[in-house]
């Protein structure tokens, strides 16, 4: 055999062996803290229930409501069309795939704003995009559309408009009935888990 190749071959096999025996890499996919701070302090992640209701009435297909409370709470009552990803399961890879779909806006909501905000921070750490929070959560939803106190007579026209809008939203969603029933969560999602979209272009 050719002696001059001895060293390169040993080097090659050695490098290959080292590669196999390397301890598994810890990958975090993290967002750097400075970036996270900037996003926390800007309030761009909040969307009001009014805006969400408007998009739902327009049947905006890119909207997906996500109830981050426990599944018991979800089954008792949730917002129309919402799916349930309990807070504890957010780090689950299956749920993560749902949230990695492109072209969708994901709106986290809970009873108030605290749990959904925590869920938002968690998802940001994972580098997920297009995640928003419904401001005020279900409580605000109810306040806006179901408690909806009519403005006084001296109120500006914009308030009156808002009141009418909210009344319309209530009628749209309930047709008179106050409770909204939870959708069957399995129907609303069509996933193609295998197809990872490539961020870079390429090809021959």
């Amino acid at each position: 055999m050719i002696k001059k190749y001895f060293i390169p071959v040993v080097l090659l096999v050695g490098l290959g062996l080292v590669l196999v025996l390397l301890p598994p890499k810890k990958s975090y996919d993290e967002m750097p803290p400075e970036k996270l701070l900037r996003q926390i302090t800007s309030s761009s992640r909040f969307i009001t229930p009014d805006e969400i209701a408007e998009r739902m009435i327009e049947k905006d297909p890119s909207l997906l409501l996500i109830d981050v409370r426990s599944s018991d709470d979800y089954l008792k009552f949730t917002l129309p069309g919402a799916i349930n990803i309990p807070f504890e399961e957010l780090l689950n890879p299956e749920q993560e795939n749902i949230l990695r779909q492109e072209g969708m806006d994901f709106i986290f909501f809970s009873n108030g704003s605290i749990l959904s905000d925590q869920a938002w921070i968690l998802s940001k750490r994972k580098g997920l995009k297009n995640i928003y929070i419904m401001q005020g959560g279900i409580n605000q939803w109810f306040d806006n559309f179901f408690v909806n106190t009519p403005p006084g007579e001296s109120a500006p026209a914009s308030e009156l408009e808002l009141y009418q809008f909210r009344k319309g939203v209530r009628q749209f969603f309930t047709g008179g009935d106050v409770q909204a029933t939870p959708q069957n969560p399995t129907e609303t999602i069509q996933l193609e888990k295998r197809i990872k979209k490539s961020a870079t272009e390429g090809g021959c």
Partner: protein
């Protein structure tokens, strides 16, 4: 003063393993800098698309295949692969000068004529061009760059190319040896 005989390097080539390592390093750098691999048939495709577009623009828009590569804000020749291929020409030319291999000729086996070689080259090119579009790549793009990232498609295409070439080269043995 004796005249030093000019040494003929035209048959000298790099050690293949060394060449392979260099090529591997080039691939690594390419992926590291641009996130994509090399390619060759893509530039030929861009040329064809550009030609079709300038000669018969209506057909270009109607054709399902060509229309994918035409966009209003970007000339199809303004793509990464075209620039890379221009570089390939330049680099090979440089190497040809360095090694003294610049010489116009038709390379063929002594058992066939030049003319036959040219005809066969044309047919071979046509088949390869057709196949490269089906497989979305050629040996540089799909096979080499695909294997660099362990892509399954890359491996399959590479095995298809080399396997079928092995089979058919014995059928056409007279063309070569």
């Amino acid at each position: 003063m004796s005249e030093k005989a000019k040494k003929d390097y035209s048959k000298t080539y790099l050690n293949p393993y060394f060449g392979g390592v260099l090529l591997g390093i080039i691939l690594i750098l390419t992926f590291y800098i641009t996130g994509r691999g090399l390619g060759a048939s893509g530039a030929a495709k861009s040329t064809v698309v550009t030609t079709i577009q300038s000669v018969a623009p209506k057909y270009a828009e109607k054709s399902h295949y060509v229309s994918q590569f035409i966009s209003d804000d970007n000339h199809p020749m303004n793509n990464w692969l075209v620039f890379e291929v221009i570089g390939v020409f330049a680099g090979a030319f440089l190497s040809g000068i360095l090694y003294g291999r610049l010489k116009p000729k038709v390379e063929h086996s002594p058992r066939i004529t030049s003319r036959k070689r040219l005809i066969v080259a044309l047919i071979g090119g046509m088949l390869f061009g057709f196949g490269s579009q089906i497989a979305r790549g050629c040996t540089s793009g799909a096979a080499l760059s695909g294997m660099a990232v362990m892509s399954l498609g890359g491996f399959i295409t590479m095995m298809g190319i080399f396997g079928s070439a092995y089979l058919f080269s014995w059928t056409f043995k007279k063309l070569w040896i």
